[in-house]
């Protein structure tokens, strides 16, 4: 509407005027529904993807981990349900000046260089081995499998009242040399201090 006011009435008789008019009409018709779709409540995997990325912002890695590599790799192990969502959400983002990168790993050994590793529920039975493999590394382990924090995992997604929340095992994280921001802990629904290791 404002444009109409800006343009002189005679302007619409020219070729350029007509092109602009048509562009405006096309944009309104096609783009508006898309925008509306984006604003509707996000899916669980979308929320989880975003949280994975956000965790990176509230965790401090030891210096040896930060200095290695120029990327900030976020990895997924097992049959995750993200599909391409993770890539879509994270694409183009960076943390502490390092470009975020999504890696799918098949073995725990491949995840050593990852900053954050999402362990799918499908790997529930191999969790002990996975966590053992990552011992002495500074990888933040995240999963949505039950009992994850209790079993030595660091952050576990919990769905509560249709909302995605998370629990933290602070001892596991500290053992890996990671410092979790108080801000993060504040948001967590449960922060465990002591847990069985390697169990």
């Amino acid at each position: 509407m404002t444009r109409k006011h800006i343009l002189a009435p005679g302007f619409f008789h020219g070729t350029l005027g007509r092109v602009i008019t048509w562009t405006v009409i096309t944009w309104t018709v096609i783009a508006a529904p898309l925008l509306h779709g984006q604003q509707s409540s996000p899916t669980e995997s979308e929320v989880k993807s975003a949280y994975l990325y956000n965790f990176g912002k509230f965790v401090e890695w030891p210096a040896k981990a930060t200095s290695a590599g120029e990327f900030f790799p976020i990895c997924a192990l097992g049959d995750d349900s993200f599909g391409s969502t993770l890539e879509t959400i994270i694409a183009g983002e960076s943390i502490n000046g390092k470009k975020v990168l999504v890696k799918r790993v098949a073995r725990p050994q491949d995840a050593v260089s990852c900053r954050i590793l999402f362990i799918s529920s499908s790997e529930q039975n191999q969790l002990k081995e996975i966590l053992a493999a990552l011992d002495n590394t500074s990888v933040l382990t995240v999963s949505d499998m039950p009992q994850f924090t209790r079993r030595g995992g660091m952050i576990q997604f919990v769905v509560e009242a249709n909302k995605v929340r998370f629990e933290v095992n602070l001892t596991s994280a500290e053992r890996a040399g990671l410092t979790l921001s108080s801000q993060l802990l504040k948001v967590a629904i449960n922060v465990k201090r002591s847990a069985q290791s390697g169990g």
Binding site: R165, Q183, K186
Partner: protein, 788 residues
């Protein structure tokens, strides 16, 4: 404004003013500085407030980042609830990057979530004061990414508290300062205002008490008030000095005035004495004059009167020699009388005792009286006297004196004009004067003598052949008489050719046409025909001297009956007894004076209506008229004057048996009228002109007049006017007979003034006889009824 004017009201003293000025200045300074201070403080407080709120917003924002990122509003709410510690914060809110409200905090329980105000692009935060609140909005940026916004609202209570506190402090400071200023002012006042107040008080004392000995005390320090005090003291000293000098002068002046006053009083006393002496002398002189005139005139009166009677042959015919002697006596006594009169006149003029009785009169009316006395003199020398006096303007002067002036000039002219000469009298009118000139063909007067002739007792030497008799007073008196009446007498003359004397008199009003019929005819009036003896009017002559009484009686003899009284008392008695028609009264009589008698006669109702004519040597007309005299004649008098005067006052006695006067210019009409009236038994006399008619009327008694209106010369209207103006003829019946057609005015006049109007149209004769019968018989009846 009203307060301000009161504050600066002019009557307040300088100390009050100084104090007020002090208070005002310090109060104003304090107020301004307080205001500046408070303003500055408030501005910086506001800045600090914004800064604080911004920090709080930053803290709240950064503490809420994780809650925002992990979509945990509850955590955000608990974070925000930490703001409880800041009681000024009314509400706060966290908003998602999409500006949706995320978490809210309200100080006073729950409230409505407010829409996030927009932040201008490119800015981290924005704030504004709105409705007693400070509102601040701040973006939350985490790791370089906008993560949401914080919105905080704070009330301004702290600021208003602060403001109140400041106002209180300012008021206290102001109050304290003003008290301090008051104290300081009182100190200054003592230093500055006190000398001025002191000076003002002193000035008040000086102006109020006129005490110039007071002095102001010096302050000691050489400041302006001190200079003022010194100058003031110096000034007081000078004034004191001058005051002293002034008082000295004043004292001297007073002494001088006293001395002069005493001198003046002495001089006044002396003057008064002199005045009294002069008054006394004047009185003596007047008395002398009066007695002289009396003593001289009384014998002379007898000489003149009786020689006149002798000359007329009243006591019997004289032989030629006797006649000559009598004439010598007459001439000598006339000259003597003239001389006495002149001397008395002159003395009177010089004594300021000349009485003038001014009236309006026409020259031509007054002239004949003079001419009648001059003509015989002129005729004796065959001198022709001409006069041209045809002017309308009357003179306003003393008629008697006018005649005297004219007589003097004419007799002079006759005296100095040789045989067969000519004298002419001319008259002219000016703006305010009438002038009369008398020109003669006489010997004339030398130029060097022309002023001398007006001096007393000077006669010009006319030559060896001319021995002119005269008193040498005539012209001197004439000149003074003219001048006393406001006129001027002048002379033009050439030796050997003649002289012309001219004099002026004040002119009267133009419209005045007062002409007296008696004057017009009296000059020629001879004796009135004797009426029937029984009806002759009676005149009572009052005089103590027998010759005077006899003379008056002889003057009155043919026309009037006379009775005598020798004194005032007798006069009153006889007047009461006889009821005369008139009284002549002398003034100077032994016993009661004439004036007393006059008053007594006037007071008595039985004699009050009798006309009294004073005949005396004493010229006190004003007294006489004041006492009720009908007229006043001065001895010696001429017969004609006496008769004329008495006629004026004694009503005409109509003789019904006398003739009827017929006046008509047509002889045939006259003849017819004569026939008609004679056959009806009336006497008639016929005249053919108005003038003749008046002559007859003045000399003869008639019973009525039958008058024609249209006549050549004097017409009937004029005759009527003359007749009615003569007091003696007022009641004379007039019948008018005319063929003239009359205007309404003429008809009115005739109806008023005449007894009957007859028209000449055939049958007037019977009417005439009837009218005459009616009037004359009617009057006879009325008289007989009145007498019974």
């Amino acid at each position: 404004m009203a307060d301000l004017t009161m504050f600066w009201s002019r009557d307040s003293s300088i100390t009050k003013r100084l104090t007020r000025m002090n208070m005002l200045v310090s109060g104003a300074a304090l107020l301004i500085s307080c205001a500046a201070f408070v303003t500055y403080d408030l501005v910086s407080f506001r800045e600090a407030m914004v800064h604080n709120l911004s920090i709080q917003a930053q803290i709240a924002g950064s503490n809420s980042v994780s809650a925002l990122l992990f979509d945990d509003p509850q955590t955000a709410v608990s974070t925000l609830s930490a703001l409880k510690a800041a009681p000024n914060i009314v509400s706060a809110g966290i908003y998602t990057p999409e500006s949706r409200p995320f978490a809210m905090y309200w100080r006073d329980g729950a409230g409505q979530s407010l829409a996030l105000p927009p932040i201008p692009s490119g800015q981290m935060e924005a704030h504004w004061f709105k409705e007693d609140q400070l509102v601040l909005v701040r973006k939350i940026v985490f790791q370089g990414k906008p993560s949401g916004s914080v919105f905080i609202r704070s009330d301004l209570q702290e600021m208003s508290h602060r403001l109140k506190r400041y106002a209180g402090i300012a008021a206290m400071v102001l109050f304290a300062s003003l008290i301090a200023a008051l104290l300081v002012a009182s100190v200054f006042q003592r230093a500055v205002a006190e000398p001025i107040v002191h000076l003002a008080e002193l000035a008040g004392i000086v102006s109020r008490d006129k005490d110039y000995s007071v002095r102001a005390t010096s302050t000691g320090n050489r400041d302006e008030p001190d200079i003022l005090i010194h100058a003031f003291n110096e000034m007081l000293g000078q004034i004191q000095e001058r005051e002293g000098a002034l008082q000295q002068v004043h004292r001297e002046l007073e002494q001088r005035v006293e001395a002069r006053t005493a001198q003046l009083a002495a001089a006044n006393k002396e003057l008064e004495l002199r005045n009294r002496e002069v008054e006394h002398a004047t009185k003596l002189k007047s008395k002398f004059l009066a007695s002289m005139s009396h003593e001289l005139r009384t014998p002379l009166n007898a000489i003149v009167g009786f020689s006149d009677l002798l000359a007329e042959g009243v006591p019997g015919e004289l032989n030629p020699k006797q006649k000559r002697f009598v004439n010598h006596i007459k001439q000598g006594s006339a000259h003597l009388l003239q001389l006495i009169n002149d001397i008395l006149d002159l003395s009177k003029i010089e004594a300021g005792q000349l009485e003038l009785h001014c009236e309006h009169f026409h020259m031509k009316d007054a002239l004949p009286e003079v001419l009648s006395t001059i003509r015989p003199l002129a005729m004796a020398k065959n001198i022709q006297v001409e006069h041209m006096l045809e002017i309308d303007r009357p003179a306003y002067a003393d008629r008697v004196r006018f005649k005297q002036i004219l007589y003097n000039l004419l007799s002079n002219a006759v005296k100095f004009t040789p045989q067969d000469g000519r004298i002419s009298i001319a008259c002219a009118e000016d703006e305010d004067f009438v002038s009369i000139s008398v020109t003669d063909t006489g010997i004339g007067i030398r130029a060097e003598d022309q002023t001398v002739v007006f001096e007393e007792f000077r006669q010009v030497e006319g030559g060896k052949d001319s021995t002119h008799e005269g008193t040498g007073l005539g012209l001197a008196i004439t000149k003074r008489l003219v001048e006393q009446q406001g006129g001027k007498l002048s002379l033009v003359s050439e030796l050997g050719k003649g002289s012309r004397f001219s004099f002026t008199l004040p002119a009267g009003a133009k419209t005045t046409t007062k002409t007296s019929a008696t004057d017009a005819v009296s000059a020629t009036a001879p004796h009135r025909a004797a009426a029937a003896e029984g009806r002759k009017p009676l005149v009572l002559i009052v005089d103590d001297e027998a010759p005077a009484r006899e003379l008056l009686a002889s003057y009155l003899d043919p026309e009037y009956r006379t009775a005598m009284a020798e004194s005032g008392a007798e006069a009153v008695r006889r007047a009461q007894q006889l009821q005369p028609d008139a009284i002549t009264l002398d003034v100077l009589m032994p016993g009661s004076s004439g004036f007393e008698t006059l008053a007594a006669l006037r007071k008595n109702p039985e004699t009050a209506n009798i006309p009294i004519i004073v005949v005396s040597i004493v010229d006190q007309k004003q007294v006489g008229f004041a006492l009720g005299a009908a007229d006043y004649l001065i001895k010696p008098i001429r017969k004609s004057v006496l008769l004329e005067t008495i006629r004026k006052h004694v009503p005409y006695q109509y003789d019904d048996d006398a003739a009827i006067l017929l006046v008509d210019d047509d002889p045939k009409t006259l003849e017819l009228l004569e026939e008609t009236l004679r056959s009806a038994g009336y006497e008639t006399q016929s005249v053919q002109s108005g003038k003749r008619a008046l002559e007859v009327l003045s000399s003869k008694l008639v019973s009525a007049v039958l008058l024609d209106l249209l006549m050549p010369g004097m017409d009937g209207f004029e005759v009527i006017r003359h007749v009615r103006q003569d007091a003696a003829l007022k009641q004379l019946p007039i019948f008018v007979m005319t063929g003239k057609s009359l205007t309404p005015e003429e008809s009115d006049l005739l109806a008023r003034e005449t007894q009957a109007l007859l028209l000449k149209n055939g049958s007037w004769q019977q009417q005439l006889v009837a009218e005459v019968e009616r009037v004359i018989r009617g009057r006879k009846l009325a008289r007989s009824a009145g007498q019974s």
